[in-house]
Amino acid sequence: MDLGWLVSTVSRALAFGVPLLWGTLGEIYAERSGVVNLGVEGMMILGAYAGFAVAQTVGVPALGLLAAAVVGAAAALWHAFLTVTLRANQYVSGLALTLFGLGLAGLLGRGWEGKPLRVPLGAITVPGLAEIPVLGPMLFVDQTILTYLGVLLAVILWVVLFRTRWGVVIRSVGESPATADSLGINVTLVRYLCVALGGLLAGVGGGYLSVAYRPSWTEGMTAGMGWIVIALTIFASWDPLRAIWGAFFFGALYHLSFRLQAYVSPELLKLMPYAFAILVLAVSGFGGARWRRRAPGSLGIPYVRGER
């Protein structure tokens, strides 16, 4: 096979995997604390819109990303309020957030539909590493800083989760909030923070799309990525390091579905990532204990003190 083809495929897979990675890292933290947030798609599109709007107005892409993070976190806090404080059904609230986000971003973005961004986030070339043959052009050229920050973040989040006091608290709250509560942990606060972090990262993932990957605004430009994130969280068995591989693998699938359009019907190819996501969920359902045991014990269940 042609080496150039491989190099560009890997390079684009990385670029396309970035929003998936950021979103998945966020969802992992939310779910580790016991809260499912199906609103990832909504938070991403709101992030994409806010990122574009601010970057376009101010002309500074970094500020766009900051806005995306803030808007994502704010949307997630709404989910946290409904599900943690009011103990609403997490799945319903998350779905509502997705529909709301898609609708609101579409409405606000009308005037900007199809517009390219004035100043996109630039690609960088990693000095030194870019010179390595084959690997250099694959991994260290033509990426934005968010690719590397995402990987670094995954490592940091892994260390926090499994090697620090905070990690013990977060995992305990997700496994057994009653235990954490009885030891004086503020379950509500931990869940709010984790859900907010989830939204923040999803927002950045969305912002990346409109500010860096395809610097423009199109309604519905997240194109179902939020749903892939939900599947990836399970695929990665709630482990930030595994999320790296998962995200870039799905990035490759997305990219290949563009690449192979010459040979296979494009409708079929566009299905590929989703078909794969369904497959992952089916396998994780069937595979039984090994996969399921890792799901946080009280995922999806609101915590009520003293309930018997």
Binding site: R165, R171, S172, E175, T179, A180, L183, G184, A289, G297
Partner: protein, 519 residues
Amino acid sequence: MRAAAGSGHPDGPPESPHLIRLEEVTKSFPGVTANDRVTFEVRPGEVHALLGENGAGKTTLVNILYGLYRPDSGSIVVRGRRVAIRSPREAIALGVGMVHQHFKLVLPHTVAENAALGLPGTPFWAPARDVGRRLCALAERYGLPVDPDRRVWELSAGEQQRVEILKALLRGAQVLILDEPTSVLTPQETGELFKVLSRMREEGHGVIFISHKLTEVLEVADRITVMRRGRVVGTVAAAEANKPMLARMMVGREVVFRLTKAACTPGEAALSVEGIHVRNDRGLPAVRGATFHVCRGEIFGIAGIAGNGQRELVEALTGLRRIEQGKVRILGNEVTNRSPRFLADIGVAHVPEERIRMGIVPGLSVEENLILKRHHRPPFCRAGLLHLASVRRFAQGVIEEYGIVTSSPNTPAKLLSGGNIQKLILARELSGQPALVLAAHPTYGLDVGATEQIRDLLLRQRAGGAAVLLVSEDLEEVMELADRIAVMFRGEITGVVAGGEADREEIGLMMAGEERVRG
């Protein structure tokens, strides 16, 4: 009777300062006053038992002390200072530690991670390593050996309890609350726990020991406070108390300790189980090659700590769980993996472990619940329609016969008290004259009166020639009712002994899997 609160001061002078004191504490839930002007205190270096039947309000009281519930009125005094305990964190800061009836542990985590959770002063990085070291030092001092790196779900109930005690000590608990700590222990483990409690007494801790078992309370406590229906009946020194007196205070009337039980005249085998293997919900082996038989006219008891395969065994015998290997015969029919409906139709009665979840349909009326097993057969069903008049007639009959207290046959079953729900289940199961009764924890959580009635019903089944399989965690109950006793440990029957000559110690050892006796 020397039963007025605060009257007897057997150990130490009357002015000896208390560690913690609850004064006139009242707490109501919708429909019940769980604690009614309760006054209770613990001094340093004493084990103070809180004795009462299920529902007396013991757990509620200590939950208030631990900041889980706020009292409606009354006050809490810690070392002479009035305090408000608004959360477990505040309770811990005041030196109160608690081992809950249902352990508060994160099962997938290690012992050290569990201990580190929320512990002030743990390092930010690698907290488990540091806490593990401190845990070992404490374990040494109090005689509570644990391995900090084991995952909690791998530990036995007794070991999990040790982790809970260590967690409290690690947080500097001066007052340690143990809510029904012996209910998950073998007699030997109970003995070890009592040694630990003596150790704590020597170190000057105050221990609140909750139980409804008289023998234990007399053995371990310095003082005993008895509660009944939310009120304190009295506080007595253990040295001056005895069983009948405590039983009277606890129940509010004279209690007969012996049931009348005729001699056993076993007939042919109604149930025979040959080497069955069953898996639990997680897909792991739960029953591993159990073999036994139960004869007509006998009660066959299965003792053992909960979680050793009893639940899976009963579910397999009632057709609710697949049998992977082995054979079950009932009344001569091979019935391995037949449906629950088939088994019910050939005369198997099932009194399930979780009476509300599996025993009744809470939203249906009492009469509807009473015909659940036979609604498809005459006289209740004619031409596919329910014949409501016969349903009503039948219901009124058994409500009378079994003494079910309900405002009407139309009342939703969930509104009944625990004892009456259980009587409803027994009425449904026993009224068809079953040949085999499978009863799982039939008196769990019931008061003394209801317990007596249920036991009497089982004995009457036995007298009437039914075979009764009785699964219970309550060793006293099994020893009192059963003609033969089998012990289950890790899915195996570790031994069968004759009921009359059963020895607590020996059964205790079998419950811990230590000895195999054939009888």
